[in-house]
Amino acid sequence: MQAIEINNLTREFNGLKAVDDISFFVKEGEIFGMLGPNGAGKTTTIRILSTTLRATRGEAKVWGYDVSRKPDDVRRTIGIVFQDQALDDRLTAEENLDFHARLYGMKKSLRKERIKQVLNLVELWDKRNTLVKYYSGGMCRRLEIARGLMHYPRVLFLDEPTLGLDAQTRHRIWEHIKLLNKREKIAILLTTHYMDEADTLCDRVGIIDKGKMLIIDKPQNLKNRVGKDIISMRVSSSKKMVKLVSNFEWISSVRIYNELLYLVVTRADKRIPFLVTLAQENALKVHRIDLRRPTLEDVFLHFTGRTIREEEGSSRQRISAKIRSWRRK
């Protein structure tokens, strides 16, 4: 059985296909990432999987339960961290978790023990009695992750878990996600529009754009598909160098840009010593040589023809933030 299985899933909003004939699966214990820009259909997919939105067509199963026929079983099986914050900031961290645990019907002894466990996991145990309104953005996120784990779900959804957080906080949250994936042996479906996030966290990544899933593979394989490595070098005469390298079949393109020579090659690690020797044998001085491997950014560009835009949060989030600061006064 797969943790999640989706077949030809489509969701339309007034004719607009927010999710357009998507199929994929997530294995037990796997971290699967949906990578795509704002409006790609990531949240819509998660809403269908968490039974808060109906699909227009297609089929989706979570832990073997069909989302439209067994919503109750699905809800018990999943934990979810929403894109927008969903905490009651008038309650303490512990009260938020206790509320959740009771809502999910957990018994008192289990509740207490589990709250301690998940708060320790995200390093908030010391802050358990602080009202959430005094929490920072990163702490709120960690608390929400802890809450998502409270009722021992088999599958965890993380919708843009590090959206709008600073670099240091993001890295910390990544560590927590890796740790909980290992400790709780839980399958994770996360969505993101950050390349580095998909790259560091996910076992497999699906690239989604305008409701369509374009390709799914391991991050490394995706990068290999775009292919080749790029060597850039600065030599005393770029023109001479171009002539020297023009006949090798492992070089697929040569370009001079800003006095720099760009070579698209296979197995760059092996080619660098060769290129340096070649230049020296022909009395050319090598000032600098650099190697760049393709990133998921290149992969995205390759499959969509566009770069991924990083926009500042949704408008709803901005409004919430405003009201939140107003209510605190």
Binding site: R75, D88, H100, R102, L103, R324
Partner: protein, 257 residues
Amino acid sequence: MRGISIQAIYVLWLRELKTFFRARSRIIGNVAQPFFFLAVLGVGFRSSMRFTIPEMEGLDYLQFLIPGLVGMTLLFSSMFAGLSVLWDRQFGFLREIMVAPVSRLSLVLGRIAGGMTTTILQALSILLVAHLFGFRLKGPLEFLLSVILMIIIGVGFVGMGVAFASKMEDMHGFQIVMNFIIMPIFFLSGALFPLQGLPSWLGFLTYINPLTYGVDALRGIMLDVSHFPLIVDFAVLISFSLSMLIIGAYLFSRCEV
């Protein structure tokens, strides 16, 4: 997700109470408003106002006003409690509640139970303030009947608040409900003036207003003067509450987050 979960109802009730006692400014606001009405209107009109209607002869305006202000508190705080669905939606917390493996009916009942409790606490605090102004209930039976009445009225308006909040997308709706629903219900309820001898258009508006029957029944129990027979008041209020409960639960169960 069918059926009712007692634990879910309990935890929603608990949350309502915890947050209620933490929001000092809200409590003070909700109690201060009727207090000012009592102090200014009640004391102000007391000396100059005489009821000319035979059955109210000799009744002090301050005494007359107190059940009206209890009704006012019931209306405002229970509508606010119902409309707090809007806050939960705005702050995203509604998603957390809606995605739990619990029936929507339990969620509505939990909210109504919580809202009704905090409403009654506030209504009772008005009676306490009234006590300072020399207002006394006749006995424990009257007290008990008053509380039962408060529960019925409270449930109705929390349900109404939930119903409105379920149909609204954001907080802008709150002002609209405040100005076009809550305020008219209050002013056209007979909370501030007696129902006898009203011009027919005003009489009609008060007769279709559920709070009219609430205030009237409160007066009947607390002061022994009522416009309608108590049995009529109770019949109207119970039907109002039940319909609001059903409509609120229905609309909430269909609202999207």
